[in-house]
Amino acid sequence: MLKSIFLTGLGGQGVVTFAKILGAYASELGNKVSTFNSKGMAQRGGRVTSEIRITDDPSLEFGSRLAHGGADVLIGLELGESANSYSFVKEGGLVLLLNYKYVPTPMVLKKEEYPEMDAILDMFKEKTDKTFGIKEGQTPHNIFVLGVFASLLDKFPDVLPSFSAKGLRESMEKNLKRNLEENKAVFKKGLEYTF
């Protein structure tokens, strides 16, 4: 198997940490993992993406970058960047979006409307039924959404074989360096989130 996960958001939301936790967990399960982080513009209001590729075949060589239509899983922590990542999702893939909007300066100045989550979810539903939108999250966004994702892993075990909510939680606790108790609580809230 070769699975590909695409994470996106803005600088400060914890996209790279999210990727680190997923990658570490995948690695602990005995998989070969490659992670590509694009974070150069994180401090400058720009998009951050992480591309994670996982295989259980240690002899398989594979490239680090996802193709358009190559993501089995898309997780977006910022709504606009989630919409911008539409082309990466595979037909029938899993899409999980957080309803957090960072309204860019030109939009505030021109009083333009920021697209609503429902419209974006409808757009993704053209490609896959497994589309989920979190109406309201908690900070830190990455840990909350990680919790929600964990619940979906148990609900859809074929998405990432051998991944489980329990395993992901344990891996998160091992790999986070700061604010462990706070993060455990936020993860639990995410795990219990009902759509």
């Binding site: 398989l60 239509g69 911008n84 539409y86 860019p104």
Partner: protein, 613 residues
């Protein structure tokens, strides 16, 4: 030992395993982490190579080249643009060859993710006559880097180790000892003007022939090494992958029957023995490589020479793209071409998109500098639309974006100053302004400033000095505070250099003290001659990592009228619309604000105030 590393770190450890004595480079995405890792290693280990961030790539190459001439192994690192800067020396060094292994690491950026031309530096290798070894993954790069030094010593020629963003920044588990295998060598160098100088036609022509002989030897050794190979499969359809596209072929070829993969980990000189093997059975060939058809041109050339009658698909026949990076989709398209099938339609972008333009970080001093420039242009009635401001490479170029819309041009390191001169003497009505960063000034800004002084051109140069080479990851430069320099390096004074060159007017301003800055810039705009201002304040991110910010700012919703002047003038990421369903008001995110106070200078309603923590 196993560690998660990115490609650049793997290359750093490869160089340490190869026992380099000297490592030099100039910061540049996507190459910077190589030298940064060796620097971090040297800070923690007593036995370590000499490592420096050089003033520019040309100096870096010269430092490494001479160490290699003295018999030591040396590494010079750079992004793709860096080889352009170093090219004058590299072309000459290729003629002289090397004694100790000398590896030049160049990182290209197919897809232009780092915002520079997606130039193909392998074309430079053809120009210079140097072998190119490609990287395909962090693990492979660790090994290839070590081989690069072996090859360099075997042929007595510098070798180019080439990477791309997708490998340099890919992170994988690497198993290695992560140790420095220091070589026991004494420095020595004998005088030989026939080898190490160029003055004289016979010297040059002899060296040119020597270079060609070295390249032929490289081709033979690389072929024997077996890094270029024909994969498993039968048939007459061949898919050749060059460099980092190889893993995309490897992950897809198993699901495809009737295509024989060919993997080329060196792209120059062409491994002609391998290609001749391919021509024996192939009837149709597709060539996958990013950017320019370097290997493709050479393969087509060889096909022509040998009378190969089969069909070749690639970029030259416009089957595959020349712009942007490749993914599995381009590989699948190539397979379809070989099989005479219609390729799948590519996935399209969604119907909804949101642009998040990039701007200065919260608290960036450059925000203050460009605000002051714009205010001065308004105050002097010269006007933003009528006054050219040339920009340069680095964080300063973000002044080109809204809301500043300041910089009009960006060409290469240091070009802002020469361009400003050109505009001035072309007869532009308004004064011409050039802006440049501190690291960039040292890199390439000094010669054009000398030029302006010598030729008495009327320009205003504003050096935006934030004390670090920030855009590429906060490396030190000659102007960085001495206490932050590494290995007891010294600080070089921009102020003294500028004044020593003999400019007509000089002053230092503080970008957060807007009133004074606007006054001085307005004054300097109206003067004649070569005027230089240094706008100096430390980068907010480097400062923020050391000490907490003393204050933040707050907006009183009762006084705010939502005129949005603060956002319109500063574009600060900490400014947002107040969350909640009440009347719309501006709001400062306390998690982001670092207390620079620039927003306060914009508010006519006294709604913004300091909040001491």
């Amino acid at each position: 030992m196993k560690k998660m590393v990115i490609g650049n770190q793997a290359i750093a450890y490869g160089a340490l395993a190869a026992g380099i004595d000297v490592a030099s480079g100039y910061p540049g995405t996507p190459s910077s982490e190589v030298l940064a890792e060796i620097l971090a290693f040297s800070a923690k280990n007593e036995k370590a190579p000499y490592v420096e961030w050089s003033t520019n790539e040309k100096v870096g190459v010269e430092v490494a080249a001479a160490a290699a001439w003295a018999g030591k192994r040396a590494l010079a690192t750079m992004k793709m643009s860096g080889i352009n800067v170093a090219s004058d020396s590299v072309l000459s060094l290729a003629y002289s060859g090397t004694r100790g292994g000398f590896v030049i690491y160049i990182a290209d950026d197919p897809g232009a993710e780092a915002g520079m031309p997606e130039q193909d530096s392998r074309v430079f290798a053809m120009w210079a006559g140097l072998p190119v070894l490609e990287t395909t993954s962090p693990g492979q790069a660790y090994e290839m880097c070590q081989y690069a030094f072996e090859l360099s010593e075997a042929i007595e020629l510098p070798v180019i180790l080439r990477s791309v963003t997708s490998v340099s920044h890919a992170q994988e588990l690497l198993e290695a000892d992560f140790a420095y295998h220091k070589l026991d060598r004494e420095a020595n160098f004998d005088r030989d003007i026939f080898r190490f100088t160029k003055a004289g036609a016979k010297i040059c022509l002899d060296q040119h022939q020597a270079l060609l002989d070295r390249m032929n030897k490289a081709e033979k050794l690389v072929h024997e090494k077996g890094m270029n190979r024909i994969g498993e499969g039968d048939g007459t359809l061949y898919a050749i992958g060059v460099g980092n596209v190889i893993p995309y072929i490897q992950e897809t070829i198993k699901g495809v029957s009737g295509i024989v993969p060919v993997y080329m980990e060196s792209s120059y000189p062409l491994d002609r023995d391998l290609i001749r093997e391919v021509f024996k059975k192939a009837e149709q060939i597709v060539i996958f490589e990013e950017l320019e058809p370097v290997a493709e041109m050479l393969i087509r050339s060889e096909a022509n020479k040998l009378g190969f009658k089969g069909k070749i698909f690639g970029k030259i026949d416009e089957s595959l793209p020349r712009v942007g990076k490749y993914s599995i989709n381009e590989i699948k398209k190539g397979y379809a071409l070989l099989k005479g099938e219609s390729p799948e339609a590519p996935d399209k972008a969604g119907s909804i998109s949101v642009k998040h333009p990039i701007t200065f970080c919260t608290g960036c001093p450059h925000r203050g500098s460009y605000m002051a420039i714009n205010r001065a242009l308004k105050k002097t009635k010269l006007g933003k639309k009528e006054t050219i401001v040339t920009g340069d490479i680095g964080c300063t170029i973000l002044g080109m974006n809204p809301p500043f819309d300041s910089c009009w041009t960006e060409v290469s390191m240091g070009s802002s100053i020469g361009l400003a001169q050109g505009f001035a003497l072309a007869g532009m009505k308004n004064p011409v302004v050039a802006t440049i960063g501190d690291s960039t000034f040292f890199h390439a800004g000094i010669p054009p400033l000398v030029n302006a002084v010598q030729h008495r051109t009327d320009i205003l140069l504003i050096i935006l000095d934030n004390g670090w080479t920030s855009m590429t990851g906060f490396q030190v430069n000659p102007g960085t505070e001495v206490s932050f320099q590494q290995n007891e390096a010294r600080r070089v004074s921009i102020d003294k250099i500028v004044q020593a060159i003999g400019v007509d007017a000089f002053d230092v301003i503080h970008p957060f003290e807007q009133d004074k800055a606007v006054e001085v810039i307005s004054d300097f705009l109206m003067k004649k001659g070569v005027r230089v201002l240094v706008s100096r304040e430390e980068c907010a991110l480097t400062k923020g990592r050391r000490e907490p910010f003393e204050k933040t700012y707050d907006i009183d919703p009762d006084k705010c009228t939502f005129c949005r002047a603060c956002l319109r003038e500063t574009g600060c990421p900490a400014l947002a619309v107040r969350p909640g369903k009440e009347k719309q008001r501006m709001w400062i995110d306390p998690e982001l604000c670092v207390g620079c106070g620039l927003c306060e200078t914009c508010c006519k309603f006294d709604a913004i105030h300091e909040k001491r923590s």
